[in-house]
Amino acid sequence: MMSTTAFRKSVSLLRKSVVLLLAAGGLLCATEIPGYAARNPVDYYLGIPTSELRADGNPAWLMHSEYPNHLRYAVDYVNQSGSLKLPFEPQRLSQSIASVSGNKMISQRGVFAGNFSYRNYLLSDKMWVHNGAPYTGNPFLLADSSVGDVSLNGLFWELNYAHALIPEKLDWGVSVFYNVDESVKQTFPKPIVHNRDLTLSSGLGYTFSSRIRTGLTLNYFDFQEIMKTGKYSLDQDKTPVFFKIRGLDNPIILHGVTSEERLLALQGVRLTLDATLNQILARLIRVSAGMESARAYNEDGGSYPIAQGDWFIQKYFYKLDILLPVHPKLGLDIHSTGNLNQQQGDHPDFNAEIYEFRTQMLGGGFDLVYQFAPDGSVSPGWHFTSQTYKRIDKFNGILQYVPSSILGYHITSSLPGLGRLSAVLGVGLETLTIGDPETFLALNGFYYDAISKAEAEYLAADKSELWLQATLTWKSAAGTHYALESRWSRIQATGADLSDKDRNFLSLKLTIDQFPTSH
């Protein structure tokens, strides 16, 4: 099973160089446009970080895991705060995830992996909207007039199994992810949101030779979000005011309604092809590309279920990494990503498309990796991304179009001579420059200004982001690895309108990995 040693060495080398760059998700994080299509469905639609999951990968490659037997405990903490945000983002977010995960080789032809996680977050001063992830492009949102804190508790787990159908040739894997959570807004009218989310994945991996490996992954996902405001949570002398947001229109405002319920049900499939070439054209080339198609319906519940509109999503994406040897101590990593996210919203009553949403992004860059010591390296890098954001409310004839580009520089270094301790430090700066945004306005008024206009102003603001990150790892003799990853970033608007606003991000992650001592 593990005979493709050369393959694994090359992949490992590529991984090490990429880890230097992406240790804490440094690229395209804060300055990315909403609707960044390459994110996997769990991350994109649910906002659940997937770093401890295999949700984004081909479960068949579990057979080629670098650590087929290991156990991991992880605690992940993320905090963000500041006024530079989209209107429905909270003023402050504080999220913790505690997880246990592991791999177990159960036979020469089978590997089992699993993850069990508890998630908790507190959102402070979240405005109006009940939907847990309001910036996925969904034009149909439910809201009320309150601004308040939202707390969430949830559990999610993932089970994976990979099997060698033809040893060293053909592998097959399957993966199940399941999430349940409940979030409650603390302020009147105290809406409660329940999520029930499932993904099923299956993948095939074929190893042609020690130089070529390809894989195919099919994901099916079924996500349900139920937003409820019950009359039993109402206070005497208070009557909620509900908003039904549809595209860029002024919301429909409901007075005198004592309860409201919204179901968002989303189903979709995602197909991903991946290939890894070893010593062909370059030291290593890894490419993946795919597409995703999903459909959601929004329906108001209660005594009289009323359709609120259908939402369709089509995404295309690719990712390319090329590792070139320049010198025995110098490597060049060239990378490129691209994605297209096309969405539309259909009217609940008429056979008419009333909303269009489209983002596209194409980016690339390179990193030099200079290995100045056996356990020390430095890696400066540069990347550039061109992206556009467009949405059209065909109902009212409103358009927002924002082209932008991101230019980023960074340098990371792995410090030598620390013995069992290893340290990776990094710093980077990204600047987001807005091109010529177009806005065709048809509406005015308080609600349009508070939602759609505010979103356009945020998107059309030049921004810069400075980030710092450090990862410390200590490897014990007993086969236990302790790692602390930290990342801080500050994103600041540099244009005139929002120049006094910024947002700070902090993430800390502690992991304890236990490996068999023989490893």
Partner: protein
């Protein structure tokens, strides 16, 4: 390596071409034309045409809660330019007043369409009007809303109905019925009533002179003694009394006769949405009950009816058809202490004549303070 460099050059080229031409999108707004017709022959007799002019046409967007109003022209066309596509409820009303031999004759024509899908390039709708008979005994005010907590929450025992003689002659309340109308009443020839209560009397025991009121209270007592924001209904003329539930009974106030009481400690009007009808029928039990144990009363025997709802856009849930009430009143959050009252149309001498178009959207207004026994704008 050259192939690789070519690939990278291609990607770089793509990076530079990631922009597009943007054009201003078109709105989906459209023009709606409503044709107003009377095929009963009534209008043709008066004006020589089935197309009716000067009809007030009301267009109500269900989703956006937008209201538009236009008058029909001589061709019977009412135009609504540049409205948003949506599902609309459309109603039309015209009052025809004729003076013949010095006598004022009035008729009201009403028409209604529900859940009309309006979208596309342009929309054309025809609404058919029918003349309806105006009432003489009218429900002039309903207080169903409940009072704010002061200190008792959810206080609704001070609900009342006010009935007014809008005619020129004395009328008698004996054996008239006040009932509610449940869902299912709209489509049927009968109202389906959860509660029905009858005025006592054998024919001429309870006269009501022109311009006079009677108050029918849920409980005829001074509710302000219990909840300060509530009403003093100790001077009410009648009250509902449900003996079996231990209901409050004021012995000095005449009790209504219970005909049917499906549930509840009293004849409770919903604080959100309901319809109240005034019915005159010889034998209230002659029409039986529906499968939900709701008493059936013939619509043809209804003297007046008022449909109210907290959310006025939900016209699709109306309980009374246009022959009784072509509109809806209310639009009030519950427990605000507000009532709905019929507007004054004109004065006959010093006597107010209340508006009666069989359309509570037009005829009624919301009062912040209920006025049991008098009309706001007149002397108490």
């Amino acid at each position: 390596m050259r192939t690789l460099i070519g690939l990278l050059a291609g990607i770089s080229l793509l990076l530079c071409t990631c922009s597009e031409t943007i054009e201003a999108p078109q709105s989906m707004r459209l023009d709606l034309t409503v044709t107003v017709m009377d095929t009963t022959g009534f209008s043709e007799e008066i004006s020589g045409s089935q197309m009716i002019d000067s009809v007030a046409v009301f267009v109500n967007s269900i989703s956006f809660q937008l209201f538009f109003e236009a008058l029909s022209n001589t061709g019977g066309l009412a135009l609504f330019p540049e409205i948003l596509p949506d599902v609309y409820n459309i109603s039309a009303t015209r009052r025809i007043v004729q003076i013949q031999d010095g006598v004022r004759l009035e008729k009201v024509m009403n028409g209604q369409l529900q859940n009309v899908e309006v979208y596309g390039e342009a929309a054309f709708v025809t609404i058919y009007m029918e003349p309806t008979v105006l009432g003489q005994l009218l429900i002039s005010e309903i207080y169903y809303n409940g009072s704010p907590a002061d200190p008792i929450p959810y206080y609704f025992h001070d609900q009342f109905t006010e009935i007014y003689n809008n005619s020129d002659s004395t009328l008698y309340l004996d054996s008239l019925i006040i009932a509610d109308a449940a869902h299912g009443s709209y489509e049927d020839d009968f109202t389906h009533s959860v509660h029905a209560y009858m005025f006592p009397g054998s024919g001429k025991d309870y006269p009501l002179a022109p311009g006079e009121f009677v108050i029918v209270a849920q409980d005829a007592t001074n509710h302000a003694e219990y909840n300060k924001s509530s009403l003093d209904l100790s001077g009410a003329d009648f009250e509902y009394y449900v003996k079996s539930t231990g209901d409050v009974d004021n012995p000095e106030v005449t009790n209504m006769i219970q005909l049917h009481h499906k549930y509840g400690v009293d004849f409770l009007y919903s604080v959100m949405s309901d319809a109240i009808v005034l019915v005159k029928v010889k034998d209230p039990y002659a029409y039986g009950y529906d499968t939900f144990n709701e008493i059936l009363l013939p619509k043809s025997a209804i003297l007046d009816g008022v449909d109210y709802r907290d959310n006025l856009t939900e016209v699709e849930y109306k309980r009374l058809d246009p022959s009784i009430d072509a509109g809806m009143t209310g639009g009030i959050d519950m427990y605000k202490g507000k009532s709905v009252e019929r507007r004054i149309d004109f004065y006959k001498g010093s006597r107010p004549i209340l508006m009666d178009n069989n359309n509570s959207s037009i005829d009624f207004q919301v009062l912040n303070t209920p006025t049991p026994g008098w009309i706001s704008g007149t002397e108490e």
